[in-house]
Symmetry: C2
């Protein structure tokens, strides 16, 4: 279901490794965090590493479980705090596709929507054509200042259908 990320490197090796495509995004993230005056702790580094990749939509608990593999003493509270902070500064996106646990999407700097499998829950990032906001006529806005539209497409993935 969840895309298994093969980039399981140690915390230390992380910033020293070659600039592979997936890593660029992460270095950018860590640099941006430092630029905001964040202290770069091992915990924050690990949370950022765990969230690296495309089509990554982990719950806080999943992030914690993967973080523990690299940094066994990291606490649940720290994972929640770090995720919350990253969301509040717009570095990652909170996704609520099922009314259960929130999921966290590191792909915050490229506008996209989500395609969810009704069978297994797999989520893919997708880019529909046009601007979904444009489909809402003024008469249907009830005086709201509408600024965003989130679309969740649903269906069965190849494995479930």
């Amino acid at each position: 279901m969840e895309s298994e990320c093969r980039c399981v490197l140690s915390t230390d090796s992380f910033e020293a490794r070659s600039p592979a495509v997936t890593l660029t995004g992460m270095s950018d993230l860590l640099e941006r965090l430092r630029g905001r005056g964040w202290r770069l702790t091992a915990q924050r580094r690990v949370v950022a590493e765990v969230l690296d990749g495309d089509h990554v939509h982990l719950t806080a608990d999943e992030v914690h479980a993967r973080a523990i593999e690299r940094l066994p003493e990291i606490s649940r509270a720290t994972v929640y705090n770090t995720l919350g902070e990253m969301v509040s500064i717009g570095e990652i996106i909170e996704v609520a596709t099922d009314g259960r646990a929130k999921r966290y999407d590191p792909n915050a700097h490229r506008p996209h929507q989500h395609l969810v499998c009704s069978g297994c829950g797999t989520i893919r990032d997708v880019r529909p054509q046009g601007d979904p906001l444009a489909a809402l006529p003024p008469a249907e806005r009830f005086g709201f200042a509408v600024t965003a539209a989130e679309v969740t497409y649903r269906g069965l993935c190849p494995d479930c259908s």
Copy 2:
């Protein structure tokens, strides 16, 4: 967090409709439930009554609170069970707009989307133009059999902006 917002007048005043319309919808629902072989208990009747109306998006707890006013001994478990059953047979819709408690929307037989105030949480039913599904090109479907698209518009309501 729930609406301090005065733009949510009473449910009834909104579309200036006649009371008859409302009641018809409810009778229909109860009739449909009976038609499915449901035993019509006082508890189910009360849950259906509480959910009646336009732009109604209550949490399970809110449904329970209102149900208790009419039937003090109704239990939380019964409310959850009844809501779950109504959702599973398609008579009401589950809405997850904020990653907190699910909300329940009785307007299941008219296709619509939701407009949510980022300030106070108020939710309105809206009808965008066109079919949002059509905006997702085959190349972006990853082999999924896509069957539905849920759109959540966000912005500030007149009172919050």
